[in-house]
């Protein structure tokens, strides 16, 4: 920068903010996901805590300029810990009219709207369904608007590189990113390095994108921003020291499964059939063959789980991943694994239902399906991950329980967990306790339903072991020989044993305890799964307001942890917010005879913190606090 310029433009002091929510929105081809993830990396480097949520269209290649082709990326970052991607954006970056149309209702009144006027052509306005230009007819008056012809500013910035107009135009996301970096005081180095590596084979593209990035930044430094628009700073958060990375629930689940199988000292066969939003797990694991992972893209959901069951029979850890409709198809084979008492991990990345439902939207409506959705008395273990990073630990736990108890385990995540990302303190791998599996080898007195007296797990005797030849299957087996048995008393005993085996796992997990607040009092909010962040934040706000509210979050759905009934009974009332029509609440009422109440929301979107706070306050008022 020239000295004279520096002398002329006194940087106005940055306004300090506690937390900011930004949504980047543009056409699918505008590179919003890349822009968002670069901003995320720079923000992580600046020491903020953060949470992100991409929201891309279900259409693979929607026509340019249309509302259904709008791709969004939301980031919430703060100087304190961040638990959700934020309810409503403080800042909206709209790269074209369609992006404004889709997102303007979400932006807070008084929020900052950065808009690329260069894309507000008559054609684009028409495609977005605007009759008049919303920038001129007063529709955006409730926002602080920063109108910029980013298209033209970008072309000016990159003209020296000599690109064609198409390539040059594609740099406008980097121009915008540069401006956003300046507005929020982020460093550019990481993005510059990333661009150089991404375009290593086409250095002219790297140079153009870097020029655009720098030009956007310089624009912020030099331009006189409209009244009311400042540069901001968000001080670093007080995070636990250590090495961090950004992690999505998909990555965490895949790596957790791999880690779990390594801790078991076994190999994994992952059978799967492509399904939104679980396909990413298959993609992640398909790259990890050198970790002893065999991925099998099966002909259908049934074959995917059946192959996993076959692999477990032969001594690998059989894993299958899918979403609700896939679990429906897998039910019979899961029942087979229950009857044959074989390890099996089923990951259900839940989405909106019933039937095909809302494939790209999130929901928690498969809890009943997981706990009871099979023919016969067919108990298994159900776990639920609370955050993207928690998927790692719950996947390890799923493998541990499956091999220790010779049982299927359903791990519930959801579309929101799978796709959203958060900074994650990397685990110390030496701290993870191995659980090596010992196959049964002794032919003396062997039959396939010999059990461990403590865990009630049957022996795992794998084909290839001399002297242990045996037959298992879906028909009921005699408790003392493993042969087919139609004996009435035996069926009763075997049903009881299968129940006791799974119920006994409650002794092998942490006792129920509140996550926030006291262990008794007025109101206990009980959540499970991906709503952890929103509920936790809401309860924090409620407590700050002086309400006597505690939060308990379940990661063990079945069996439920010990001590839960006592805790529920220690509160005047229990409220269960869920992204379904009331499933955990029914389970808790049935198990503990408590008058737990339900708070439901089934919109395909995560809970909003504000909405939760309002709903709880309303109930507290009604109950005459």
């Amino acid at each position: 920068m020239k000295t004279s310029a520096a002398a002329r433009v006194q940087p106005s002091p940055r306004e300090t903010l506690d937390s900011v929510v930004i949504r980047f929105a543009g056409d699918s081809g505008d590179g919003m996901q890349l822009t968002g993830s670069q901003f995320t990396t720079a923000t992580a480097n600046a020491g903020n805590d953060l949470s992100t949520f991409p929201d891309f269209p279900a259409e693979i290649r929607a026509p340019a300029g249309t509302t259904y082709g709008v791709s969004g990326y939301q980031i919430h970052f703060a100087s304190h810990d961040v638990l959700t991607p934020g309810d409503t954006p403080d800042v909206l970056v709209a790269m074209n009219p369609a992006a404004l149309k889709v997102n303007s209702d979400a932006l807070k009144p008084g929020g900052l709207l950065v808009v690329n006027t260069g894309a507000f052509t008559t054609t684009n306005l028409k495609k977005a369904g605007y009759e008049n230009n919303p920038l001129e007819d007063g529709s955006v008056d409730r926002f602080r608007v920063l109108p910029l012809d980013v298209s033209k500013l970008t072309l000016d910035a990159v003209k020296d590189v000599g690109l064609g107009s198409k390539d040059a135009n594609r740099c406008k996301n980097m121009w915008t990113l540069g401006l956003m970096y300046w507005l929020f005081g982020r460093e550019r180095d990481q993005t510059v390095a990333w661009l150089r590596s991404k375009f290593a084979k086409r250095p002219e593209l790297a140079e153009a994108n870097i020029a655009a990035l720098n030009a956007g930044h310089i624009y912020g430094e030099n331009a006189e921003l409209p009244h009311g628009i400042n540069a901001y700073q968000v001080p670093a958060a007080n995070l636990t020291p250590g090495e961090y990375r950004n992690i999505s629930g998909s990555e965490a689940t895949a790596w957790g499964l791999v880690t779990g199988v390594q801790l078991a000292g076994l190999k994994m066969v992952y059978g799967s059939y492509p399904i939104t939003p679980a396909s990413n797990l298959l993609h992640q694991l398909a790259r990890l063959k050198h970790f002893g992972v065999t991925t099998f893209q099966a002909e259908d959901e049934i074959a995917a789980v059946a192959a996993a069951v076959g692999a477990s029979f032969a001594g690998s850890v059989g894993v299958t991943g899918t979403s609700g409709p896939g679990v429906a198809l897998k039910s019979e084979a899961i029942g087979l694994a229950i009857a044959a008492e074989l390890p099996l991990v089923v990951v259900n990345v839940q989405r909106g239902g019933p039937s095909t439902g809302l494939p790209t939207k999130t929901e928690q409506s498969d809890l009943f399906q997981a706990v009871v959705g099979r023919n016969g008395d067919a108990p298994l273990v159900v776990l639920a991950a609370a955050t993207p990073g928690d998927c790692y630990y719950m996947a390890i736990e799923a493998v541990r329980m499956a091999v220790k108890y010779m049982t299927p385990v359903i791990l519930l995540t959801d579309g929101y967990l799978a796709n959203s990302a958060e900074p994650w303190l990397l685990p110390d791998l030496d701290e993870l306790r191995p659980f090596p599996v010992e196959f049964h080898r002794d032919p003396e007195g062997f039959h396939p339903f010999l059990r461990d007296e403590q865990t009630l797990a049957r022996v795992w005797a794998v084909p290839g072991t001399p002297g242990l030849e045996h037959r298992i299957g879906g028909l009921e087996k005699d408790r003392d020989s493993g042969h087919i048995s139609y004996d009435p008393q035996n069926h009763h005993r075997m049903t009881t044993i299968r129940h006791q085996k799974v119920a006994g796992i409650a002794r092998d997990i942490e006792q129920a305890k509140v996550d926030q607040g006291e262990s008794e009092g007025d109101l206990l909010v009980v959540g499970w799964g991906s709503t952890y962040g929103a509920i936790s934040q809401a309860v924090r706000l409620l407590r700050e307001k002086g309400h006597d509210v505690s939060h308990l979050h379940l990661r063990n759905i079945w069996p439920l942890p010990e001590g839960l009934g006592d805790l529920l009974n220690s509160f005047n009332s229990v409220l269960v917010p869920e992204l379904n029509n009331g499933q955990l609440v029914m389970l808790l009422r049935a198990e503990f005879l408590v008058p737990a109440e339900s708070l439901t929301r089934v919109t395909g979107q995560p809970f909003r913190v504000g909405g939760l706070v309002e709903a709880v306050e309303e109930r507290l008022q009604r109950s005459g606090e």
């Binding site: 250590g242 791999v258 002909e299 059946a306 076959g310 029979f313 990397l426």
Partner: protein
Amino acid sequence: MSPNSPKNQYSRKDFASDQEVRWCPGCGDYAILAAVQRTLPSLGSTPENTVFISGIGCSSRFPYYMNTYGFHTIHGRAPAVATGVKLANPELDVWVITGDGDGLSIGGNHLLHILRRNVDLQIVLFNNQIYGLTKGQYSPTSQVGKVTPSSPFGSIDQPVVPARFALGAGATFVARAFDISKKLPDTLTAAREHKGAAFIEILQNCPVFNDGVFDLVTDRKTGPAHQLWLEHGQPMTFGENGEKGLRLNTRSLGLEVVTIGENGVSEKDILSHDETNPVLAWMLTDLADVVALGVLYRHLGPVYDESVDAQRELAEERFGKPDLHALLRQGHTWTVT
């Protein structure tokens, strides 16, 4: 000898489990069970490395009677379970036991895919053209007009030809035999020796619900005129004295049954079997008046288990030893102090 040390020599009874066989008296399954138990020792198989996997149906009780590893799974899914077993341990000798309903109706999809993938195992389909275990409904191989409790006016479904299905799916080995045939062990042996998915259809008599449906072929008296046992490179002749044979009709592009010595037909007019020829195999699947038996088709294709192994080795070469520490750090990390 301790039961833990594998024997060098096994006999038929080493492969028989202690379970009482519970098929109906006179069921063709008995003969197939005996043939399999007799054949395995001669193939060098060991009980501990042999796995029988079945679906649901009369035939699928088979694993319980074998003193090997066995898994009686769910209806139609045995091929998928077996694929998982081979993925976990390709060294195992895996046999899938299925029936016409299990393999071609509810499990048709899995049969298609295990064949096209060419997983290295044997698939033995017992075809009795009926649903036995559910008490006699028509099956996907029942003939049109078959009267059963669920088709009191006769079945109106066109039957599937199992061997034709297998060829269409891209099977690399397709054979056919019948339950009481002395040549069944030879067919089983050929299947076991094939590298890849070997499909064997066994015509099997159900004495309770579909008795005698294959009599014309299997009966000692009428059989010779209706059994064409194929041998690679040999003229395709049959009949009491080998007087009949197959000739290629070049105008209809089909096979026709001719009698040597009649209408100017001589031995040199008879077509020889070429088991590597898929077009010939296709024509042999559904002949009029005679049933082709033995190996209809055999060729070597890429074997699924080997391709899986090769990709794993490639990944190991490219990425080296598995390193969880590095895996979790791929991409960008940062340190908070």
